[in-house]
Symmetry: C2
Subunit: 877 residues, 2 copies
Amino acid sequence: MSEKFVYLFSEGNASMRNLLGGKGANLAEMTGLGMPVPQGFTITTEACTQYYDDGEKINEQIQAEILEYIGKLEGITGKKFGDTENPLLVSVRSGARASMPGMMDTILNLGLNETVVGTFAQKTGNPRFAYDSYRRFIQMYSDVVMEVGKKFFEELIDDLKEKRGVTQDTDLTADDLKLLAEQFKAEYKNKIGADFPSDPKEQLFGAIKAVFRSWDNPRAIYYRRMNDIPYSWGTAVNVQEMVFGNTGDTSGTGVAFSRDPSTGEKGLYGEYLMNAQGEDVVAGVRTPLTIDQLKDQNPVVYDQFVAIVNKLEEHYRDMQDMEFTIEDGKLFMLQTRNGKRTAAAALKIACDLVDEGMIDEKGAVKMIDPRTLDALLHPQFDTASLKNAKVIGTGLPASPGAACGQVVFTAEDATEWATKKGADVILARLETSPEDIEGMHYAKGILTVRGGMTSHAAVVARGMGTCCVSGLGAIKINEAAKQFELGGNVYKEGDWISLDGSTGNVYGEAIKTVPASISGYFERLMSWADKYRTMNVRTNADTPTDAAQALAFGAEGIGLCRTEHMFFEADRIAAIREMIVSETVEQRKAALAKILPIQQGDFEGIYEAMNGFPITIRLLDPPLHEFLPTDEDDITALAKEMNIPLDTLKSKIASLHEFNPMMGHRGCRLDVTYPEIGEMQTEAIIMAAINVQKRHPEWDIVPEIMVPLVGERKELAFVKNIITTTADKLIAASGVALKYKVGTMIEIPRAAVTADEIAQEAEFFSFGTNDLTQMTFGFSRDDAGSFLDSYYETKIYENDPFAKLDQDGVGKLVKYAVKLGREARPDIKLGICGEHGGDPSTVEFCYEIGLHYVSCSPFRVPIARLAAAQAALKAAE
Amino acid sequence: MSEKFVYLFSEGNASMRNLLGGKGANLAEMTGLGMPVPQGFTITTEACTQYYDDGEKINEQIQAEILEYIGKLEGITGKKFGDTENPLLVSVRSGARASMPGMMDTILNLGLNETVVGTFAQKTGNPRFAYDSYRRFIQMYSDVVMEVGKKFFEELIDDLKEKRGVTQDTDLTADDLKLLAEQFKAEYKNKIGADFPSDPKEQLFGAIKAVFRSWDNPRAIYYRRMNDIPYSWGTAVNVQEMVFGNTGDTSGTGVAFSRDPSTGEKGLYGEYLMNAQGEDVVAGVRTPLTIDQLKDQNPVVYDQFVAIVNKLEEHYRDMQDMEFTIEDGKLFMLQTRNGKRTAAAALKIACDLVDEGMIDEKGAVKMIDPRTLDALLHPQFDTASLKNAKVIGTGLPASPGAACGQVVFTAEDATEWATKKGADVILARLETSPEDIEGMHYAKGILTVRGGMTSHAAVVARGMGTCCVSGLGAIKINEAAKQFELGGNVYKEGDWISLDGSTGNVYGEAIKTVPASISGYFERLMSWADKYRTMNVRTNADTPTDAAQALAFGAEGIGLCRTEHMFFEADRIAAIREMIVSETVEQRKAALAKILPIQQGDFEGIYEAMNGFPITIRLLDPPLHEFLPTDEDDITALAKEMNIPLDTLKSKIASLHEFNPMMGHRGCRLDVTYPEIGEMQTEAIIMAAINVQKRHPEWDIVPEIMVPLVGERKELAFVKNIITTTADKLIAASGVALKYKVGTMIEIPRAAVTADEIAQEAEFFSFGTNDLTQMTFGFSRDDAGSFLDSYYETKIYENDPFAKLDQDGVGKLVKYAVKLGREARPDIKLGICGEHGGDPSTVEFCYEIGLHYVSCSPFRVPIARLAAAQAALKAAE
């Protein structure tokens, strides 16, 4: 156990953020800078951890230390806890390492009791203020510490106001407030079964415990998960002498930013209220003044504040978000921190700070949270319009961005409404299938009942950059009747709904969206990022359109081109199905011969789009039954189309059924059983490369052929032999000295642990962390939804392992495979092509273990570029 | 590359088996013992490997060396290849490290051509013999080396016999045979397009290549897989001077065993034919004489042979299987090897050899192949009856043994036919379900269309020791019409069929079976095994009956008691289903309260049956939907029974649907989402233990509660907390000082790589190698059938990883987990409870990595005991 759990503000500084929390460290720093800060002390984050280790108890050592510091604070302020002469009143506030605004609890005016309030009234000469402070304290303490609930107290206030015939709280007199305080205490006793504590020390420990507890409330748990903050960090608690903005007209309180947090414009930005406490500003009952108005109202304080703001920005070299209070004309700083800002503002501020000479380019690159870039690349909801919108259901956040449109239930309708009526449409489906591609393309957003983050809808939508919410199981969809039921309401074709693909939220109304907007600041910052970045960023793209999009976002190649998505398009699915239902090798080869020119054309298009950048093409991966229809009518139609008996087709489909398709006949297993598939795909790749190389002699095309789902060296050797035999013959015949590489996905645990053997055959590894995560954890992404929430609630998992790479487990396998692979083949090329490739923490991990590139969906390329630059800068420090 | 690829018989000995193959090493050994062996040389197994490494070519170094040894052999014999005076004729035979009888090819009489045959006829004074040898050589060479096919030659012989008006080959004259040889050569030229080679050296290299090639023929591949022989071993080739058993009436050839291979009875056992070559004995055209008859026919040779047999058995200290030839009254030994024998014979021979002082107990233990014990524990087909039976289909060998009975199609019929009519029945089902338990119990064998080696049918059948063939997809079953179609035939209720659960073969007829029989020899050998064994053997048992069976087979505890199998029984499935469809915690608890006393009763029964041995009980593992009906009628019935609307039940069932149930909501994930399930199961276990402990104060009951499917320390900590909270309360209230342990399965790759963390919570690990193999390879056992055959054919896999633990991949993870687990908790208890626990090579692996026990199904306990003893003896050497 630590020796010291409490620090005076004068004992700390900004570098002690991990121990003191952000708020505590900054209060200490401002104290050190000689700024007017009400004094106090910080109970460390380690005390919070200790509290939980001790079974949610503050142990005796820490209790004693807190009391010792109360003594010190009494010495500093000359006031005394519970004193009838000069009582000490304090605020108790949480303060974690990372800012979690509004996530945890605060208690003000602590130290008041029925005796002290009298002294306080007398001393301030303002009984109304004293009793108002007292009733606020009782209310806040009851709510936060004892969880009585605010509404009982609000009702008492309303009752009294009605009785007195007034409408504003401010119209209540000191006596009214004194009465209210008594009523509040009676209500407290009624609810809790004990008297409201009058001993300030008892109040203090109650409040501290409440702050510790608030670290573990559902809001905080959710916020941490969303923002990747570990549970183990804990929160600090700040106990600070109260200053009052509500003692009269020369007092006030406010918040301000050193620059505009929405736009990044330079200049003070904020608001304040005279004769008010912080909660009044937040509550919005009275309209606050803008910070400029303070200039007229109290120029001395204003100038003092501006000087402090400038000094703080200079000191922290970042935009500051500050809280201040004016007590009887005297300015106090209650908080400063680096301000939250929109993505657009973040870019402008970073660039401006560079131009102002406050930071250098590296500093600017480090300043931007890569995840926020997403908001710049996709449409988002207009904040004002979103404010009162009601969420009617939440599915999986399958593809980011916001969309608003009229709901339609078939892909044909989506196309028709969009092209003929010019309507914005949302396509709602039980699940999407290959035939829906065109309609999906025209839809503003896609909503599905079934399917996870890797379902057809999700993967296709992400590639197109279209918003998608998938797996919304709560919906009851009736595609025939063209309507769905959700949350007790029925939505018919043409009704307006809105989707948020970044959260999974669905709204039963139209919400205005604002389009994606990339500014010059974006380009400027990304160019700095690229300067310091050493790891390449590629993209996962399956079509020339996706490839061009990714190139525009700065991709330096394709890390994963999935050949199967091409199979789904209408003009080829018939041949694919013919191939699948073939009974003999000859039939299969005949069907493959029809697919060959189409697939070769696709590859040529992608090579052309990629301007000579390298492209890794993966051989067919999904189980074949994914390409066959499941619906009775569709099966009948297919039988007719293919001219085979319905029963034969049905029994073929039945024979392809798998209990666990994820772990079935797919990936390179298809090439082992049907080598002719690998032959055809190799031919398509090599011939495309030869043709494009001929057309563009200035490019150096080196196809990278990737074998999926390998688990054993001999398996890769077998498929590699199919590839090289086919390729070498074609190359020899072509007269073009084309080189190519054969490598593999590492996505099966066995491949990771035998990577040294596999590297004997593979010229490159690409870590397929989607499947590797599924196999390593032993749960499928599509099924985990039914229990993952319980895992977050119980804190077994703090993150979604499909979004952020699990470095302790899956990452251990990746690291091991890198080590083994390099031992066997020192120049092996290493990359990652799972969805994790666009997650900043995973990008940093990939950099640390020495991968050559990450590959992610086109819209995540900028995120990966920035994250890779930050990882390089961090490592250089 | 090796320096030396060829050894004269006089250069080798029995210890060089790996290099010279079994046959070559033993010919060398016999040569060294001064026995009459026709001389020759052995081309090593390394030459075979080199042949494949060189792209199926015999390289120049090896060619030169072979020619050099031909020269040496000419020196030894005084004969010369292709010589017109004294021509050298040789046989060319394969000989692998492990005996693979009949798997590879042999060529006799090599060295003959149209010139040599004349000399040979003259020299032997027996033109008929010479030309017969010649035409046999042409036929054999054409078939084996050039793959022309025997039937063309057989037709020519038949034509000539018809022309000559004779029926026996022996009725053909020397001239006839000379003519045939000419016709054969013409046929050869016709088929191959080239003259039959007359150069003996060309013949020799052709023959050697054919033997090398035969290492890779489908028969050999299959045999290796069945017998766990690595492809990399290769085969040696033996080139040996010909001796002839067919020169006349003083010549002959035969095979003999030093003891009866069926029963193990001591004494010469074998047969021979005078004036014949080896193939005549095998062909069975003439009835051979028993070896005893040689005593009268040629007492000198007989005595000489008996002396050799005794000397060989003494020398090898094992029963010998020998081939010999008598040429003009002179005895030659052509082969000796340890003879194949039945399991019963193996036990008797081992015991007899100990009694005779030939070997010690350890030697006896090492002598028995543990896998053969299976045949003693289950009924088997009568060998004679099986001989001409036709396989009509092959499914998965789901539970070993043989069964013969009248086919029925419902469990009720199985019960009825068996109990009322006293019939032997085979139960054929699309798939079995919990309700079928009783009928399965009465059936002699079980046949299912769907489901793999871990399906309900397979697991239940193995537990009961009943023969089962599962996953026979080729069958078309019509349960309503009570018939099935297979291989073009229809089998109706009451028709006789037979199943071989050890091979998966199904026969459309009645085949006599012989019952399981455990002899005194078995008990004696197992007692020796137990004496030298250090690792414990437990069993996987879910019922008192299974537990008692396993105890009788020598189990020392239960390593895996699956609580879910109890759930399937008729008297409890209703409550289970009620629990599953519960919408609230209260409903679920109410249903669980009904299950509690039943489950507690089950556990008490098992504790009673196990006589105080330790029992590891696993918490509920399968996904809940497994307990719900899938059939429309059954769902309707259930809705009625449970008094809930059909739609509600259907949507509940739909909501439980999983894409990949293997990777879904199961194992400890159930306890995380529904802690009340873990509470109920803990209560059932602890209360059962307390009650049994009270009844048997002489026992020391320490329940081992096993949490399945753990992938993360915190997950185990969460479930452990449920267990300890529940258990401690019950124990405190009981007044019995019961101790218990909490541990986990290691069956998820992530658990293996984070085993150090998990060991902080787990008092024991049990490696669940079924799931661990599935997750590590990334394929599910139930689906892998569709591609595994291709993997065997292409030699990517040489073994079924579900039968024999994959030591290179899965084993690496197991080893790593053992290391990490021991680092974190040095006294951690380690075992294995996957199906692999009964596989001898896996048992040896488990011993090597220091596991404390293996656990397997009751009928494999003796196998595991013996394998564990062998592993200990091997390690001690």
